[in-house]
Symmetry: C2
Subunit: 191 residues, 2 copies
Amino acid sequence: MSKPDKREEIVRAALEIIAEHGFHGAPMALIADRAGVGAGTIYRYFENKDVLITELYRELEERIYPVITEGYSEVKAFRERFLHLGTALLKYFINNPLDFRYLEQFHNSPYGVAFRRDRLLGEKEGCDVYRELFDEGIAQQVLKDVPLPIHFALAFGPLLSVARDHILGFITLDDLIIARTIEACWDAVRR
Amino acid sequence: MSKPDKREEIVRAALEIIAEHGFHGAPMALIADRAGVGAGTIYRYFENKDVLITELYRELEERIYPVITEGYSEVKAFRERFLHLGTALLKYFINNPLDFRYLEQFHNSPYGVAFRRDRLLGEKEGCDVYRELFDEGIAQQVLKDVPLPIHFALAFGPLLSVARDHILGFITLDDLIIARTIEACWDAVRR
DNA sequence: TGATTCAGAATGAACGTTCATTCCATGTTT
DNA sequence: AAACATGGAATGAACGTTCATTCTGAATCA
């Protein structure tokens, strides 16, 4: 196994185990096992567990961004762009439940809070597209007159909740329900 | 200190520490310290840490319910009832940040997932008022034609997100913004 | 009243376990 | 052969839980 291969295996194993059992249900020894690697080897690639966790978060963000923005065109009507970004994000989560579960774990932990605090301006997912879209919508008075974070809450709050329910098996989403949900979010933010 | 006093102190200390640092940042020894009791004393009142955690959850639920439903009348117009329940819940969270942080921790943990799964199967809903309101709205076609869990997501998702941002200091809510936020949620669920 | 007894509440040091991290003998590459 | 990478046993810190002991205050007795 080549050098970068091992790093990749470690990251993959960490994602699987942490997404399923949380940070504290993911001992380094288990991650090493699942990656097919010695416990000590992890420390050749990551200074410690915290670094592994935040590094994994960064990699997930980078994976998501291009998928979301694929087929996204800034020239389309505002509403269409909103629906595109919402649908793309929700579908990404549904198709990548491990990524979703990991991101949730991260957000609801001291890691995530510190991370967001550092980013106070960048806000959620670090995806600038969302911020730009909402800023434009507020400026053009297409969106309601509330602060940006409220818009984020109105748009992403239901989205995350629905994704979680689907992944945990409490509901089953299909294309129709997804479309209706995103349109409902649009009703929430539009003026 | 009388007998129920100690139990109360333990519960209070556990709420404070867990809300602030999470389940794993709350060793029993620290909870005992904060409560002003010996480490072993906790085990006179709670079989183990898990029982303490779920018991505390149950107590919080019981505390919230009467506050939410105060002044709530089933005869008022549907929209008014929705706004009342939404506003009451959001304001409760803002006024009781420890409660909110604890409930979030609980929901985003194996405890919470297991808890919800039991509820779904057992039909024994904790938030009956909310369930009744939404059921009625769907039946009367005041609400959009989507499954109940989607309505929950549309209504509570933004609410929790906004409460979290406020409590973490990322935004500052006032009565006007709260009212606009709940009304936006109404736009999301209404037909 | 003051002394004595006693049940159960409270205590915290000690225990066994789990975990992140370190260490080093061994293997691999250059 | 030198330099580096690896695995997994060893380490020590932290944790939840236990239990032998101490404390407390109500009940009983003289």
